[in-house]
Subunit: 223 residues, 2 copies
């Protein structure tokens, strides 16, 4: 019935995930692959944001998406229907992905993929605890969730290099203070790049993608 490839992930047997993640990053560097790990709460707009990113990056790079979920294949279907390579990863109840699971997933994407985007399990806690081997970690915080979330989920904001504040078009309906959210994020991570966007309308996504393109070019060009 499924029109997308589904990989049932096996739990890792490696004791040292940090070591394995560093090794994966080295391998990806050698192969010329940029690996972006996208994390957020359930329903913050990861899939819609990724679709907007794909639209802008696919002209320059060969892109592919790994959609991780405990169950269902709706997200991989959406990406594939939009015309991009996608594989659905089922975690079998697990709340996060690690490096070994990332390896399993990448086997479901075309050999020559240059930019692999992982949509991690919707969860602001556990995914931050496991290095997936990604070159960059990106967190999405959406307006309806509230501007206090960086205070409550510190590790997630410490581990990411970029934060997207999504659903800014819904700001009038919610009591969300962009200044307060940015200050809370910077309290956790002073170096964080912050991008307010509306993934639904596309507002702000160009700036995000210029930043991402720059980071990807740097990674692919570097020795």
């Amino acid at each position: 019935m499924d029109r997308v490839q589904v990989i049932e992930l096996k739990e890792s047997i490696l004791e040292n995930n940090d070591q394995d993640a560093a090794l994966l990053r080295d391998e990806l560097k050698d192969k010329g692959v940029f690996y972006l790990n996208v994390m957020s709460s359930p329903g913050s707009g990861k899939t819609t944001t990724i679709l907007q990113i794909l639209k802008r990056l696919s002209g320059e790079f060969r892109v592919g998406v790994m959609e991780a979920d405990i169950d269902s294949s709706v997200d991989a279907l959406k990406v594939q229907e939009a015309g991009y390579p996608a594989v659905q990863l089922h975690t079998g109840g697990m709340c996060h992905l690690d490096a070994q699971m990332s390896r399993q997933g990448m086997q479901g994407l075309p050999e020559d993929t240059q930019v692999v985007i992982l949509e991690n399990v919707g969860n602001l806690v556990c995914p931050a605890e496991f290095d997936t081997g990604a070159v960059m970690n990106l967190v999405i915080l959406s307006v309806p969730e509230g501007d206090d979330k960086p205070l409550k989920y510190p590790l997630m904001f410490e581990k990411c290099q970029a934060a997207v504040i999504n659903k800014i078009d819904a700001m009038p309906a919610f009591d969300f203070d962009l200044e307060k959210a940015s200050a809370a994020i910077r309290q956790r991570n002073p170096e964080m790049e912050i991008f307010p966007i509306s993934a639904a309308s596309g507002e702000g996504v160009d700036a995000l993608c210029e930043y991402l393109s720059g980071q990807i070019r740097k990674w692919l060009a570097a020795e």
Copy 2:
């Protein structure tokens, strides 16, 4: 600086949490305490919903709230400022609560509390895996998260007896189908009681609280 009591939870040493949770439920039954475990994604409106519940239940029962977070005390402060007993539980990075941690938390509430409400860590995955000893599990799904969430987080919806669909006032701004959401919930759990509400405006909360009062009275009256 903190004006609320903060309990730094210790990780449980018990091997059999299920057994301990059953034991806690028995003890609560003997003491005449109803324990409600409220779970959701970050930012689904747990605190606001709990405040609405407190307003309606506090006339009939002696209520108290345990606010679990990895860090910060903003939620316990809010509840306390609204005039209800509250204790902040810090999980020290842990993504869930179990029975032993529930016991630790209850020591921070008045001895004669009849209804203990736990605001669990914002997470749709891990809290569902650990029995807290609660008499009832309630999940909140908010409109901006999307109507497909029950498909992606099956265990959470299987483990709960009641589902609140919050932020229905924001429905016009989001592509959320209440029928579809209800069908997805019932696919996971045919017996689920579903309450569409707006915790911000109070719409629908009366029906939810009538149901809760009924369940509480039944628990407190039963042998």
